[in-house]
């Protein structure tokens, strides 16, 4: 709801690779205690989450047991086994993090411990990357990287007409929705009528929204899942909405897209970037301008009909008297519209001045690195500064590099030089 609508359902939280939007209350894992005693104890915690383009689930089993031997000490064993899965629906992808470990402790210090964690990605080919750690008189680790599913013959790249798919999604009546105005704006009680099929019905004060999850708009896209792009319409895709033949002011609507499925990322970017980004996916038309009849206004001078009440209780008419505009402006604030209207009810009755606390959005800049003069480290001169869009900054870096400019870097946030 509100400025940044998104769809999420969560039982027990989210996959650690997924960052939920701000202000979304993140539930704790659903936890079940198997067995009745505290020692040994066996606990199962799990979660399931659905978002508009992903399914996330995971579980974890914890075992703990301890036995206290007189004179020697307390021996305890703890084990865990668990997995976190993240399935992206369109394009299809799966990432599973699996971890398991057993450790034997004597008086709280680990004597013997084995821990294994690996990440499995797919579907084709299946790729497992992980580490096994042994702790016994020292720590030893083994790293492994296994690919299953032969890629002996590189299949011909699949070509997808992303523009065509996007057009089909935008022309589908299910992508169009109408939102009622918020509670103070509806002004009437509506009847419930059966919805007319294939028609979008909107309240006159409401907003009309179109959104889809096939491809982001206004962004250069390199691929679609594992396929390359083809077709008449090429990214970046721009969407325009017209009303009465003239283009309407439309606000962008954002959806979450998995960045790795649309952009060619380097290894470093793939590791350090968040998995999901909020990109433009549609538009909302919310026309709130007033339509005034062009020449039909009538102006009447506001004058009093004046009477005088004398000491004897007799009222005598005195004709007309002027009502100056400053008095009108003053007394309007005590009139029915000010005292009984929407601005005097509910939360708006207590509205006050904004305190002005704001957090600057993350800023990225493409900077030119000047070679160090003697004794001086490299200085950074900003070429372009972009607010809140890593993808746009990366675009600018690539565009500048193609233009033959060398020695450019992308810096974020606090390293952006002032000015």
């Amino acid at each position: 709801m509100g400025d940044d609508p998104s769809f999420l359902v969560s039982l027990g939280g989210f996959n650690p690779r997924f960052k939920p939007p701000e202000h979304f209350p993140v539930p704790r894992r659903l936890t079940l205690s198997l067995g009745e005693s505290d020692n040994p104890r066996l606990r199962l915690s799990a979660y399931l989450a659905l978002t508009s383009n992903t399914v996330q689930f995971g579980a974890r089993l914890d075992l703990y047991a301890s036995v206290s031997v007189p004179v020697v000490g307390t021996f305890s064993i703890s084990a865990l086994l668990g997995f976190d899965a993240l399935i992206t629906l369109d394009p299809l992808g799966l990432v599973v993090d699996i971890y398991a470990g057993v450790s034997l402790m004597w008086d709280g210090d680990p004597v013997l411990a084995v821990y294994l964690e690996f990440t499995l990605t797919g579907p084709t080919p299946w790729h497992a990357v992980g580490t096994a750690t042994f702790k016994f008189l020292g720590t030893h680790s083994i790293h492994f990287d296994v690919t299953v599913g032969r890629r002996a013959v590189e299949p011909p790249p699949v070509l997808v007409d992303l523009g065509g798919r996007l057009r089909t999604a935008l022309e589908d009546v299910d992508s169009w929705s109408a939102a009622l105005p918020d509670a103070t704006g509806a002004a009437v009680t509506l009847a419930e009528h059966a919805a007319v099929p294939d028609v979008v019905t909107v309240h006159p004060l409401g907003s009309l929204t179109v959104t889809q999850q096939v491809a982001p708009l206004n962004l250069r896209i390199d691929r679609y899942g594992s396929a390359r792009l083809t077709g008449d319409a090429a990214p970046p895709f721009t969407l325009g909405i017209t009303l009465d033949g003239r283009s309407a002011e439309a606000e962008p609507v954002r959806e979450d897209f998995a960045q790795g499925e649309y952009l060619d990322l380097t290894e470093a970017e793939r590791l350090s970037w968040p998995s999901f980004a909020s990109w433009e996916a549609g538009a909302r038309v919310d026309d709130s301008a007033l339509l005034v009849p062009p020449s039909a206004a009538r102006t009447v001078s506001a004058r009093y009909e004046q009477w005088e009440l004398g000491p004897d209780g007799v009222v005598t008419p005195l004709g007309a008297a002027d009502l100056p505009d400053d008095r009108m402006r003053l007394q309007v604030a005590g009139g029915a519209a000010a005292v009984n209207g929407a601005w005097a009810r509910g939360e708006r009755a207590f509205a006050g001045p904004d305190i002005g606390v704001a957090v600057a959005k993350p800023t990225f800049a493409v900077v030119r690195v000047a070679p160090p003069a003697s004794g001086v480290i490299a200085t950074l001169q900003p070429e372009q500064i972009m607010v809140d869009s890593y993808a746009a900054a990366r675009e600018a870096l690539r565009a500048a590099a193609e233009a033959g400019v060398r020695r450019l870097r992308l810096v974020d946030n606090d390293e952006v030089p002032a000015g």
Partner: protein, 768 residues
């Protein structure tokens, strides 16, 4: 032209309704149609058809949209030479669901106002199944004779904007910028008969609106709800009220009926009994009465008896449970029994504690709205505090790393570590890698040459000289406090203390480079209307004893106001903290008690109380009350039928040039508006004036002042033009022209203060 203006518009549309087009022959005429299109990379998209809801989709109206009716519900004696009208808050409401584009200057509204006499054949009943009212006209009453002609429905709905336009501003811009100056209005053109009781009802104008409201299946065309051929009609009613016509309720008549009286004995005081409260009371001791916010002239507030102060002092404070009002702002956690100032006067007097608890009750009643408004003002403070929290954690981690790995290094190694961070002019050859390799401890020259102390660059030497330690200077360059602080300042801006002294002060108190952001909301809304709604018997105790049609002179009680606002602010602070709002505890969010809307003591004047953190501990409670209303010399209270029929009557004072004539009103010094006003339902209103009654009455001190009582200028009345026998719609091009013809000017009655304030001769021995 010195007079203000009214602007009338025949219709106004907003939102997607302003883009409607004529429906094509194969499209549903009962709903509006938009021409929506789309393009993808410049190529057109085929967009599904979009329909806008029409009158057949509406079954009820939000009650909050009706802001005024003329006459008021339940009025008696309404003048038959006027039309009944109803005003709506939204200036576009009457045309919102009309599914057609306008026809030039005329657009039929989807609602209209009708008045129907209560007689045999007319019945108004509530339909429990749908929850709305139904009006049935049948039997001996002929619907065609009673209901207005819908062919002229376009003429009886208009938009009114009160006031002049700013230079260069269009009417549309003015309506959008000042929503309180514009209303939309429905007028009922039926001529009223005398001494008849009427139902006034807001009903739909289209047949499908009628059928939707009654729960019947809808027709397929956009026909009107009734025609001249219908003699029996049933209509759903979105809003209704009753009134009776007659004589005697004109503004002038109601003003003439007012009389100045002495206030009843004991007005403004309530007896106060603590015998059941659990306080140890000496035998036979009583508390002085509690004085309300308004009280009679000359009423003094007696201080609390000493036994009450002694009994309360150990019970008040953070440790023992009873709240200490104003304690956080004063920096105190307990108050001794003999405290001479406001903290003792407020907390150790059971009457003032009761008043503060009233303030707390008012806040609890509106806690959701107050909390929502406070969060709205705070902006992104939660995100800012999250950032501060993670920054503090990061600083701590980095400090621990620094201590564990870096601080123990030898100074020479430390200098090499720091060298790349220096922005000095020339690099010393001694800090280069080649030199270090040659001079390493077990290298080729170590046995032969004792290397000099590694000299560091000029910048570090200068810093070392300033801070008295080379090592300290190097560590200061690496300090995570500085780095974290700078990063935070980029994101948060001015909230983070800037100067090194401020940072050091902040770090000294809790060892952190930056503290969480605390905010203080400001809520400028007056609290007296809330008190009047929740507990009117404390705003003016004894108001029920005031006779009808009387004018009284009263005064305000600053002790009450200060105690009330202290309680309001204490409860608001605790409520916000419970909701985890980062509140700055020394602030006073609510500083306004008396309502100044529409009166002269406007926003520019100082608030009623100063911030409680600035109250002098030695001052009494009344000393803290320094606002403009402290200069209100007299509060004029009017009770009467005038305020039942004209609830927002405006009262102000104009200087007299002589006992019979007004001075020039255009000179601002000759007009005195009330500083504040207020209302007690249903028929009491009071106004605080800055001029005393003796000055106003004049006589020896001068010609005095006139009181001017006028109808509220935005609440206009309409009636058939007295000098024009034609129907007002004849020859009119639009509803704005009809409004212009039928407008009645607002009435103002001037009366000299000496006349208004002359005491009624007493008949039965009551004396002032």
């Amino acid at each position: 032209m010195t007079s203000s203006t009214y602007h009338f518009l025949p219709w106004l549309r907003e939102g997607l309704a302003s883009r409607l087009r004529q429906p094509a022959p194969n499209e549903d005429p009962r709903r509006g149609h938009l021409a929506v299109g789309g393009t993808l990379n410049g190529q057109p998209l085929t967009v599904p058809p979009v329909q806008v809801l029409g009158p057949g989709d509406v079954i009820g109206l939000d009650r909050a949209q009706v802001i005024r009716t003329d006459p008021v519900p339940g009025a008696t004696g309404f003048d038959t030479g006027q039309y009944a009208t109803v005003d709506f808050d939204s200036p576009t409401l009457p045309w919102l669901f009309t599914p057609r584009p306008p026809d030039g200057d005329r657009l039929a509204p989807w609602l209209c106002l009708i008045v129907v006499p209560q007689q045999r054949g007319v019945s108004l009943s509530v339909n429990a199944r749908l929850g709305i009212a139904e009006l049935t006209i049948s039997g001996p009453t002929d619907a065609a004779a009673v209901l207005p002609d819908l062919a002229n429905a376009w003429a009886w709905a208009h938009v009114q904007y009160a006031g002049d336009l700013d230079p260069g501003q269009t009417l549309g811009q003015a309506i959008a910028k000042y929503p309180e100056r514009s209303v939309s209005r429905l007028v009922c053109p039926t001529r009223l008969d005398a001494d008849v009781r009427y139902h006034a009802c807001v009903v739909p104008t289209f047949a499908i609106g009628r059928d939707a409201g009654l729960g019947r299946p809808l027709g397929s065309t956009l026909a009107p709800a009734w025609t001249a051929a219908d003699h029996q009609v049933t209509l759903p009613v979105y809003h209704h009220w009753e009134f009776t016509t007659g004589a005697g309720a004109r503004f002038v008549d109601l003003v003439r009926a007012l009389r100045f009286r002495t206030p009843p004995a004991g007005i403004g005081e309530r007896p106060f009994d603590v015998s059941q409260s659990g306080l140890t009371t000496p035998a036979g001791a009583t508390m002085p009465p509690l004085v309300g916010a308004l009280c009679g002239f000359g009423t003094e507030v007696d201080p609390a008896p000493q036994w009450a102060r002694q009994a309360l002092a150990p019970m008040v404070g953070a440790a023992t449970g009873l709240p200490l009002y104003g304690g956080e702002q004063a920096g105190a956690t307990a108050v001794p029994a003999n405290d001479p100032g406001w903290l003792g006067e407020l907390n150790l007097d059971p009457r003032h504690r009761a008043v503060a608890a009233l303030g707390a009750a008012v806040v609890r009643d509106r806690q959701e709205d107050l909390a929502a408004a406070a969060w709205e003002q705070a902006g992104e403070v939660s995100a800012a505090n999250e950032l501060v929290g993670s920054a503090r954690f990061g600083a701590r981690m980095a400090t621990s790393r620094l201590d564990r790995h870096i601080t123990g290094l030898a100074t020479s190694t430390l200098a090499q570590f720091v060298t790349p961070l220096q922005r000095a002019a020339a690099a010393d050859p001694e800090s280069s890698n080649a030199y270090r390799r040659i001079t390493r401890p077990r290298g080729p020259f170590a046995a032969k040459v004792q290397p000099t102390t590694l000299s560091t660059s000029d910048g570090v030497r200068a810093a070392a000289a300033a801070t008295g330690g080379e090592r300290d200077a190097l560590l200061a360059l690496l300090s995570p406090q500085t780095a974290v602080h700078d990063r935070l300042r980029r994101r948060l801006g001015a909230i983070v203390p800037e100067t090194r002294a401020a940072r050091a002060a902040a770090a000294a108190t809790d060892g952190e480079p930056v503290r969480p952001v605390l905010v203080a909301p400001t809520i400028p809304t007056a609290m007296a209307p809330e008190l009047a709604r929740v507990a009117p018997q404390f705003l003016l105790p004894g108001a029920d004893d005031i006779e009808a049609d009387s004018v009284l002179a009263l005064q305000t009680n600053p002790h009450f106001v200060a105690a009330f606002l202290a309680g309001v602010n204490a409860e608001l602070a605790s409520e916000l903290r419970w909701r985890q709002y980062p509140l700055d505890g020394t602030a006073t969010p609510i500083q306004q008690f008396w309502d100044r809307r529409g009166q002269g003591g406007g926003a520019a004047a100082s608030p009623d109380i100063e911030g409680m953190a600035s109250w002098d501990r030695a001052d009494g409670l009344a000393g803290a009350f320094r606002g403009a209303s402290a200069t209100a010399q007299v509060v004029l209270l009017i009770r009467g039928g005038l305020l039942r029929h004209f609830p927002r009557t405006a009262v102000y004072m104009i200087r007299a040039a002589d006992p019979d004539h007004l001075a020039d009103e255009r000179n601002a010094a000759n007009v005195a508006y009330p500083i504040f006003s207020g209302a007690l339902e249903p028929d009491i209103r009071f106004f605080g004036f800055p001029i005393s009654t003796t000055d106003a009455a004049g006589g020896a001190t001068g010609p005095g002042w006139f009181f001017a009582l006028s109808e509220q200028p935005t609440e206009t009345r309409f009636g058939p033009p007295p000098s024009d026998p034609r129907p007002p719609t004849q020859g009119a091009a639009s509803a704005a022209e009809v409004a212009e013809r039928t407008l009645r000017p607002p009435v103002r009655v001037i009366v000299h203060a000496s006349t208004l304030l002359a005491t009624e001769p007493v008949a039965n021995g009551e004396n002032s």
